[in-house]
């Protein structure tokens, strides 16, 4: 009998589910316990008990939503439903390039499986790849191949509803389906997005499309010296992205991306407040980078890749006043030169930038891919970071029709003045962005209500719809109260 082993309710267990990068000690979002099922039947049984006893559950895949609360629940005392033991890779189809996996499968797990089985399929991997493939896709995580809009590659979900009933989406609704991972929509309404960033179900299986290994790649790295270069660069890159000349998400990031990996802040500046521009320039000079850096990656048939590289050159080289230096790879060459995504947690170096017990939160509004707007956003954000004494770490990640402007606030968790100012900065940024017409694509548990409140068209009709659906599907309000600002009827008084 393993029951006791997988009900985790000691003080030490509870502490392991706190947000390790919280603003402060993280004890404002504690779990009262965690329970770790191993099968969908166990998930259903737990949900039945939760309904019977009216116990709220906070499902996590692997609990690595770092920078957004990790495994910590929105509502204090919620029981974490840790799906980490449901970690089976149920199917990988090399011919049709898809997989069916459980929520506990991590990026490293799937990568190792594909490598060990010599399956020529590439994953879309986020910057920090410690977490769950399913969890990342459900939070609308971002990768950097043509399959990098991870949510868009979901093809079929199995979901335990808040009343413990089991549903399969898409063509999975056919008992003997042969196309569950082939067609995303099914017959009639398609509900998959209802379970993304939501508290309307517990995803227990996910179909996901994987990228067939390309025949060739060409890659180049570009650094731009001046802050104002963002304007022309975003316009040119967004045009290439819209036309699918470049068909993957690009991280257009500032110099701190490099500096925070290879060094710590006190190497460059020991004073209070934000890094002054003089220190920033010293960093760039020393590391040989400019204000902005980005990578260009082209994937496909060699002839197509070569043709695309010529279009990219024609667009960028007149601005750069020099030739782009592409690295070319053909299938059969050493794979490490291909640009194939390899899971890594090196990006976590950023939390050590300030030293001490480091933490970080991400502020990530969505905006149009427009150079003038990006320049204005850069200036506004930089000024706000400096006003509150924080170093400005940013990237403008280009999607096909949008930018995810991911800004990271890094702090020493034990420095109360620093975490207090980070909290105020964050709320100020939410208000600033809402005034500009930009909403966040994803946020930390601490700010879910604040962000949800900015989606306020027609007297918050979106929230009223969300709550209507929530109350209909989850009458006892047991599933993730407060997730993304959506509170069940009985807990609406808990909204901040």
């Amino acid at each position: 009998m393993v029951g006791k082993q997988w009900v985790l309710a000691t003080d030490l267990d509870r502490e392991t589910y706190l947000d390790a990068y919280a603003l402060g000690d993280g004890t404002d979002h504690p779990a009262s316990a965690a329970v770790a099922p191993h099968s969908v039947e166990e998930v259903q049984a737990i949900v039945r008990i939760a309904n019977e006893l009216k116990i709220p559950l906070w499902p996590v895949a692997r609990g690595k939503n770092l920078g957004y609360g990790a495994a910590a629940p929105r509502m204090p005392g919620t029981v974490v439903l840790d799906l980490g033991r449901m970690n089976r890779i149920l199917d990988v189809d090399p011919r049709y390039a898809h997989c069916l996996i459980e929520p506990g499968v991590g990026f490293f797990d799937l990568f190792n499986y594909l490598r060990d089985q010599k399956i020529p399929l590439w994953m879309s991997v986020p910057g920090n790849a410690w977490g769950s493939v399913v969890g990342n896709a459900l939070e609308r995580g971002i990768g950097y191949t043509p399959y990098g809009d991870n949510t868009a590659k979901i093809c079929g979900l199995e979901v335990v509803l808040p009343t413990a009933e089991l549903i399969r989406t898409g063509t999975g609704a056919l008992t003997n389906t042969r196309s569950w991972q082939h067609y995303q929509y099914g017959f009639g309404p398609s509900w998959d997005q209802m379970f993304v960033q939501s508290n309307l179900g517990i995803v227990t299986k996910m179909g996901l499309w994987l990228m067939p290994e390309p025949a060739a790649t060409m890659r180049a790295r570009v650094s731009l010296p001046q802050p104002e270069d963002i304007s022309w660069a975003i316009d040119e890159l967004a045009q290439l992205r819209r036309q699918n000349v470049i068909d993957n998400n690009m991280v257009f990031g500032n110099y701190l991306h490099d500096a925070a990996v290879v060094s710590q802040r006190d190497k460059w500046f020991q004073g209070e407040g934000a890094l002054p521009d003089s220190a920033s320039q010293a960093i760039m000079d020393s590391l040989g980078v400019g204000w902005w850096s980005f990578g260009i990656s082209l994937y496909g048939h060699p002839d197509v890749v070569e043709a695309r590289s010529r279009i990219v050159r024609a667009a960028l080289e007149p601005h750069l006043k020099q030739a782009l230096q592409f690295d070319s790879w053909r299938r059969g060459d050493p794979l490490e030169k291909s640009g194939m995504p390899v899971p890594s947690v090196l990006a976590l170096q950023i939390v050590n930038w300030r030293g001490g017990r480091g933490g970080h939160i991400g502020f990530s509004p969505v905006m149009p891919p427009d150079g003038a707007l990006a320049l204005a956003q850069f200036r506004r954000m930089k000024a706000r970071f400096e006003e509150y004494g924080h170093d400005y770490y940013t990237s403008f990640t280009l999607g096909q029709r949008h930018i995810n402007n991911v800004n990271i606030i890094v702090y020493d968790r034990d420095n109360k003045a620093m975490t207090d100012s980070a909290r105020i900065l964050f709320k100020t940024l939410i208000a600033d962005s809402a005034r500009e017409g930009y909403g966040e694509y994803r946020t930390h548990v601490e700010f879910m209500d604040d962000v949800a409140q900015t989606f306020d068209f027609n007297h918050h009709m979106m929230m009223r719809l969300n709550e209507t659906v929530k109350d209909a599907l989850d009458p006892n309000g047991i599933l993730a109260p407060g997730k993304n600002g959506i509170w069940p009827r009985d807990y609406r008084g808990s909204r901040s």
Binding site: M1, V2, G3, K4, Q5, W6, V7, L8, A9, D11, L12, D13, R14, E15, T16, Y17, L18, A20, Y21, D25, T27, P30, A31, S32, A33, A34, V35, A36, P37, H38, S39, E42, A45, I46, I49, L53, I55, P56, R62, G63, A70, P76, G77, V79, D82, G84, R85, W130, Q264, P343, S344, V345, L346, L348, Q349, V351, N352, G356, R357, G358
Partner: protein
Amino acid sequence: MTVRRCYWAGALWAALTALCVHAEDKPAVVAANPGESLFLARCGLCHLEHDTGTIMLGRRLGADHALLTERADLRADYVRAIVRQGRNSMPALTRVEVNDTDLDAIASYLSHAKPKHPDSK
């Protein structure tokens, strides 16, 4: 640090301990040294050469103390405490991520690791 004990844990404990009946984690990879195998699987993403935990430890403690597998000063109870409580930028790991049996094996392995650097303590 202690998390405040809250509300539903007692009721849930009783209900669930009878529930999770067959759930046995997949067995650890069999190797000459199971602790080493588990270390590579559970800790290796951060604590191999050039990885993020190794870099952070190197900055804080010096290059000779960066790689855990080359440390001679790690006691098993210290390893267990750090894994469960975290330290600086390292998050605590739950018993779902590393169960107690596996953690014991990892801690034992690291506490018996041999230094490669002659001046490592």
